[in-house]
Symmetry: C2
Subunit: 295 residues, 2 copies
């Protein structure tokens, strides 16, 4: 594994590609926005004009695109798969529905290429500092071959199963918890706002108690701001909780808390706030409860 | 503050009274079960046969009873308040609805005694190791007077407001988060069980990722057992999420996630499992989704 094609150079993909280049991999970056590919060249890689150019002669092609539709687009419609040498590995790192990942894996493997279902967690911060959590699924030999690549991107590398789709499943469960933790932090702070307890004191107490969560800790302070910095948008959770509920429908599993949390993100997006920081799901609570952020 | 009456020597109260005795306070313990009071005597305190005996001549009377009804019972019906010297402090540490705490505080203060609304968090483990989180509300002078007592019980002592009821509010918000975090951990592990990902691998991934919560970390492993040790019962969250929703009704705040989580605890209790460990709220998910714990 030396030459890596990389498709999807957004907020997550760009620093991931940079980290690979910085650790000695020959990275060929492709993005629909040529400026994003140019940034990979500036970091020591090569800017590819098409996904086929990025895949040509590569040992692996990492897909850090927005969703499964874009993954299918670059692989099949834009010729990424055909350009990839036989035996090379398609590494799908976007958050996608487990059933769709399984189907995509079958098409890739039927073409004589290998496949690793390899979603990541840790956000832009984790992508930038190469400290992502990676939950990979695929046969052991493929996982072993790709491991040095994953180690250039993250610190917690898990082989969660042999079947493609199992990585996506673990990521789905991860997002179920993240989405509900985020929404319930907003619910808690809306109640606090209504009863007039100082929100900063409340956060201090909660962050050190049995009520703590990673999301409360990270997003709680931004919930008290009215226009916080955007690290991840409301619409990401509209999508990801949508994937959670789609997995639930496919598998016939009732997920009542995830369903309620999804409605709150959806309503936030519906009022025109889909692009703001996901902490602002609290605006849905402020809207229904007549509460407001601290002055 | 030297002589402390203590009413309610259950799983939390007993170690709290022991910690006070061990730190040089003269503790007079009362419980409806005489054996519990006798244990306080064995730890260096005095066993009181009635709450009035515990309150007589005390600088403060701590109430660590089950609920607001029991607090009213020991103070008003059983003569605890009348036995307490003027100027002494009633410290209410049970988890109670904010509105009821406010009303109770007014009755206590009208009698010439002081009042501190002082709920705790940290469970039996925190009570035993004197590392509770304490969220106290009351006037500054009373808080300052009582602080040495609280420091014998916990490590994180917060003065969250001047009005009795504000401590109960912070605890209510705390329990909202705890209850929903517990239920959603069960929802996540039920989905994992259905899709056949190894539950222990799943927990390993989630506990180190942005999906982490104190509750997932503490209760997650016990959710994978069928008859875990009981550290806190399902019925405690039936009660505490009931208090959360009561506070929501009083204040006219919609709390949709807490409402759904309450239903899951309620159904678990309704099937006869109210006394089992609260991690077993997962049995409601297993029941509706046809999933089961790992072999």
């Amino acid at each position: 594994m030396r030459t890596i094609g990389f498709a999807g150079l957004g907020a997550m993909g760009a620093p991931m590609a940079r980290n690979l280049a910085g650790r000695g991999f020959a990275v060929r970056g492709y993005d629909i926005r040529p400026a994003a590919a140019a940034a990979v060249a500036a970091a020591g890689g090569v800017a590819a004009a098409t996904v086929a150019e990025a895949a040509q002669g590569a040992d692996a092609l990492i897909l850090m695109v927005v969703n499964i539709d874009q993954a299918e687009q670059v692989l099949f419609a834009e010729g990424g798969l055909d350009a990839l040498p036989p035996g090379a590995v398609v590494i799908l790192s976007a958050t996608c529905p487990p059933g769709a990942v399984k189907a995509l894996a079958q098409r890739v493997m039927a073409s004589g290429r290998r496949f690793l279902d390899s979603p990541v967690s840790g956000g832009v911060a984790g992508a930038t500092t190469a400290s992502l959590t990676i939950m990979a699924a695929g046969d052991r030999a493929t996982f072993a071959a790709v491991k040095p690549v994953l180690e250039a991107l993250g610190t917690k590398i898990f082989h969660v199963g042999e079947q493609p789709g199992q990585g996506a499943t673990v990521k789905t469960v991860n997002q179920l918890l993240c989405g509900v933790h985020l929404a319930v932090a907003a619910e808690a702070l809306s109640l606090a706002a209504k009863v007039g307890v100082d929100a900063n004191v409340m956060l201090d107490v909660l962050r050190g108690s049995s009520a703590a969560s990673w999301m409360l800790n990270d997003r709680g302070p931004r919930m008290l701001e009215t226009e916080p910095e955007i690290t991840s948008a409301v619409d990401i959770f509209v999508k990801d909780l949508g994937i959670v509920l789609e997995a639930g429908r496919e598998m016939r599993v009732a997920l009542p808390l995830a369903a309620v949390a999804h409605q709150l993100f959806l309503a936030t997006s519906g009022r025109g706030d889909g692009a703001v920081d996901d902490s602002q799901v609290i605006r849905s609570y402020h809207a229904i409860n007549g509460t407001s952020p601290p002055e």
